[in-house]
Amino acid sequence: MFLVMVFAAAAQAQVLNSGASTISLNAVLNDSITVSLSSNAVNFTLTQASGSNPGSTSVTATTTWLLRPNVGSLKLYAFFASSASALTDGTGNNIPSSDFQISNNGGAFNALTNTVPFGGANAGLQLSSTTILGNNRKGTRTDVMNFNINLVPLPNLPAGTYTGTLTIQAQAI
């Protein structure tokens, strides 16, 4: 009888439960933009007064994004710091951005003569504009850029080495 009472008391103690505790979980998947350029340098072999001076290689800009609903559009721009001297020999002889052309994805060649958010006035070109909707908050876009320098407006450009920097800018707004 005594043993039965002891076991009963022990069994009662076993069913006591502790208070429930919680663990807060917080997981964040940040929005992001990735731009991949297939090359970072392009050479040109120039012919005097020729309208066709293609770049040595095309540059493929692959843009990958994962965005939230608060982004309405994703744009890609190309621009120079100055429209007067897209490429320069450093001694005052310049190739202006109006004579530098980009063909995007096989389209027509366009000179960099637009004013885009960054860079010099009349020294840019919008490459692409993607409207972000519910079905493409995650996506990829490829822009294949071919380059050309038109030297028809510059028949007296002196021989020399001309260099410049083209900036590719992504904009999410």
Binding site: N30, D31, S32, I33, T34, V35, S36, L37, S38, S39, N40, A41, V42, N43, F44, G55, S56, V59, T62, T64, W65, L67, R68, N70, V71, G72, S73, L87, P117, F118, F147, T161, Y162, T163, G164, T165, L166, T167, I168, Q169, A170, Q171, A172, I173
Partner: protein, 168 residues
């Protein structure tokens, strides 16, 4: 013997060629998050830059104010004088296949306020002595939101919306 040598040499040669191709062809840079909506005074935020290429890159940060027109066109300007930003760094170098975090604090006398931090990636491995180099800019936009945002925006009355739960 000759065949065996070629077979042995083929693998490291292929690896070296693959590394060369990757190093010259792949040059991906990432910014995350793209947009940060922060509440507080000052607000504290963090932005992450990833260099997926096989070469180290230099990054220079530049903060700008901007305005969006009714047609959606964005115009940038120098940072408004009443917005104060403390960046943990304004220029840095990201090693290959690495991530770099930049921390910042921002204050503005009136909210909402906003600005963008553009990261200029330069120093790509293959630079040309003649012709054109290409560089990249990626944005990180920060919105400073008011602490009490639940107000009637369209009402002429400025009374705040009560969010107090009902009591029985």
């Amino acid at each position: 013997m000759k065949t065996s040598f070629l077979r042995t040499a083929r693998r490291p040669l292929a690896s070296a060629l693959w590394v060369f191709v990757l190093g010259t062809a792949v040059s991906a840079q990432t910014v995350r998050p793209v947009i940060n909506e922060l509440i507080g005074d000052p607000v504290k935020g963090r932005v992450e830059y990833v260099n997926d290429s096989l070469t180290p890159l230099n990054v220079v940060l530049e903060a700008k104010s901007f305005t969006v027109s009714e047609t959606g066109e964005v115009s940038y300007r120098l940072l408004d004088s009443d917005i104060h930003i403390k960046l943990s760094t304004t220029s840095f170098r990201i090693q290959p296949q690495q991530t770099y975090y930049v921390f910042y604090e921002a204050t503005a006398p009136h909210t909402p306020a906003w600005f963008v931090i553009y990261a200029n990636f330069t120093g790509f491995a293959f630079r040309t002595a003649q012709g054109m180099n290409v560089r990249l800019q990626l944005p990180h936009t920060v919105y400073l939101l008011p602490k009490h945002s639940l107000r009637s925006l369209n009402s002429t009355s400025s009374a705040p919306i009560s969010m107090r739960p009902r009591t029985r």
